[in-house]
């Protein structure tokens, strides 16, 4: 599954990038977060609630935040497990300054295995897209809620 989208964030590019590389800040943006455990400055483990069709329960997500090729990029990769399922998401965000704001053009490649894919079936893609969109939406809201100019 491949998704893409963009968010326009009223913050400078450095601030956005710093946010995207901070585990405790990105972690809070995961939809239906239940538990967050930061491992080091680039990794965290989160437990989230998911529900796809009749499959409902908790997933463990091991998340790595990586700087991209240059300072206009940030990457997030997720390995998920639980509910008899496996999940891999590789996403990257391209950050472009536009009129004092930052245009975040993101794309994500996701693959899901196990019960979520089998039983979730055709509901899965829409649900996965929603989760990724919600995450980037939350990132925008969190950032804009912080006082401007404060880099993390």
């Amino acid at each position: 599954m491949r998704f893409e989208g963009s968010e326009s964030i009223r913050r400078r590019r450095e601030e956005v990038r710093a946010f995207l590389l901070a585990p405790e800040r990105v972690g809070r943006c995961l939809p239906d977060l239940q538990e967050l455990e930061v491992a080091d400055e680039a990794h965290f483990t989160a437990h989230v609630r998911v529900g796809v069709g009749p499959v409902r329960g908790r997933l463990r997500l091991d998340v790595a935040l990586e700087p991209g090729e240059d300072d206009a990029e940030a990457r997030i990769s997720i390995q998920g497990s639980g509910l008899g399922s496996g999940l891999t998401v590789r996403s990257s965000a391209r950050l472009t300054p536009v009129d004092g704001q930052t245009e975040v053009a993101w794309q994500a490649e996701a693959s899901v295995s196990g019960t979520l894919a089998t039983v979730g079936g055709r509901l899965l893609e829409g649900q996965a897209r929603k989760v990724v969109e919600q995450m980037f939406g939350a990132i925008r809201r969190e950032l804009e809620a912080e006082p401007a100019g404060e880099a993390g």
Binding site: S81, G84, G86, S113, G114, T115, A117, T118, V119, G121
Partner: protein
Amino acid sequence: MSAVQATDVIGQRIKRKEDPRFIQGLGRYVDDITLPRMVYMALVRSPYAHARLKAIRTEAALAMPGVLAVITGADLEKAGLAWMPTLAGDRQMVLATGKVLFQYQEVAAVVAETREAAFDGAEAVEVEYEPLPAVVDPFASLRPESPLLREDREEKTNHIWHWEAGEREATEAAIRSADVVVRQDVVFQRVHPAPLEPCGCVADYNRGTGRLTLYVTSQAPHAHRTLLSMVSGLPEHMIRVISPDVGGGFGNKVAIYPGYVCAVVASLRLGRPVKWVETRTENLTSTQFARDYHMTAEIAAGRDGRVKALRVRALADHGAFDAQANPTRYPAGLFSICTGSYDFPTAFAEVDAVYTNKAPGGVAYRCSFRVTEASYLIERTMDVLADELGIDPAELRRRNFVPPAKFPYRSALGWTYDSGDYAKALDLALETVGYEELRREQEERRRRGELMGIGLSSFTEIVGAGPNHLFDIAGIKMFDSCELRVHPTGKVLARFGTRHQGQGHETTFAQVVAQELGLSVDDVIVEEGDTDTAPYGLGTYGSRSTPTAGAAAALAARRVREKALKIAAHLLECGEEDVQWADGRFQVQGAPARSVTMKDVALAAYTNPPPGLEPGLEAVFYYDPPNLTFPFGTYVCVVDIDKGTGDVKVRRFVAVDDCGTVINPMIVEGQIHGGLTEGFGIAFMQEIKYDEDGNCLSGNFTEYLLPTAVETPRWETARTVTPSPHHPIGAKGVGESPNVGSPAAFVNAVVDALSPLGVRHIDMPVTREKVWSILRSHGIRG
């Protein structure tokens, strides 16, 4: 054997003796068994189709309330049980070690005090995987760049075996020189037997007696006991396998599954009974599938429609392990029945088998070892030939049938057909359906732009495996058996090595025994499924029960009669040579009024045996069939297609079956109704599908569709009777014929309806979407 008796019970519509318990909810299936101190097991399964196992963490699961044990592949490895042999000479992981090879593969087993706690525990087991690229396409699997799936094997390839039969050169030569050659690619999709009762077991190891009792959903309890003994190292006499009432099998319950082995290990470890019953999703995604055969057929023929040669190639996708249950000598099963009902002068067939990251199998689903694939292929391709030559499909079949005078008939691929009268079945089917009239109607409708199709299938089956010099499974010869005990009051206990799952053995076998002993069906009770009491046999699948155990029933009864005759002579005060068995009793030759019944003899066997003869009246017969049996028939299907929706409506379906002597017509018809319905589901609705990552997309009944009463057509049945010359009562077996013969009739009907558009073939399942797309691609709208 005597002439027809006044007391004939064979051929009667006798109500089933097993039914009173089922209609009152008093059947006893595996999940109904509850034993003192019993605990429950759930399995942790792989979400990935192909992945390296990096770590399994069980601490959290073990800390859950009620969880008693977690078993992993590493635990089993220590006991030498991480792998088990399949029935096809391959081996299969019980619990994964090193890597997982299909989605839903068994990775760990959690045992807990309650079912719910076991499932909670399974969810708490943490498994770390490194996903690997999955191979789901069998053709891709053979390409050099494809990842090697089975690193455990010496052969570093995904190719499993190659098998061939017939004359390669002669077939090639005939194809080169023929007037006409048609060639058709045909896929028989992956399907699943999906019996309504899922698989499961209760393993009960008693530390006091040292015995293991395994209650299990098994079509072959004796073979399971022997293999379990070989796998576990437990001495065979210390294992008792009981297959209680089985809620449908259709081949799905022939194999030994990892869950059974894990439950046994758990019971040995805990000293408590362990119940494991799979969920429907587990059933559909991990247990025996069927088919996944990718075939090409070429028929060479003259302009007159006479066939000259058949060449067949097939690629068999077995999934992660070759876990089919085929006789050792026949890795492609009885696929070489693919010449069907037709007199091919020469033929050649070859099959290659391959591993993929899909569930292991494939079993014979209501099929006698790949007969369904073969029958579908030839019946489909004969229609392609008919289309090419512009000959009516019924006429083309008739021209090429093996004629009655040629039986016993040796086919180009080496089988000796026992008996048949194919034209007779075809004629009856055509007459019953009103074929000529339907063809006229079809022409009219076509002129009006309507889509109506008529499909035929004149199949030949090959069942009753099998002769012991050719047939074994895992080395065990494919005989079957009957043990009869006649009690002093003339009542009979009859035990068999087979295990019915709805086929009605408790009635039909009682009819055979009653007939042979001159008793009433009510005098005979049939028992199957307990290895402590039943004689050894290979079980019920491949329509083999009547050809093998049914024969054993007649012959064991005749053995009883041999001794009974001595007792009768004693009672009648005459020489044995003066006594004859006639009209269901022993009579003095020339003075039929002087007679005794089997009941009289039975009493005497215990109360007044002749001097010098040992008391009692019992017999055992182990029957080695001299040949297979070859049931046949012609099915005609009439369909109307809705141009707007692509919906195919089966207007009529006439099934003429010939299964030799019919023991109980009511049960035979019931078998045919059921098999046709399964064939209907396969033709129109069912496929076990995978996405490119190896996710199984058909893991429940909302995706893997079974026909309901609403879609299922009304079946019209009729029969001809051509007894098997070598079976003691002439019976051939019938359970699978309708599932073997019907898919081609359905698809042929749809293709016939669409043939004005130039359509020559559609792969199953022929869904509404598929038909709709074909119509749209030809610019046809409703």
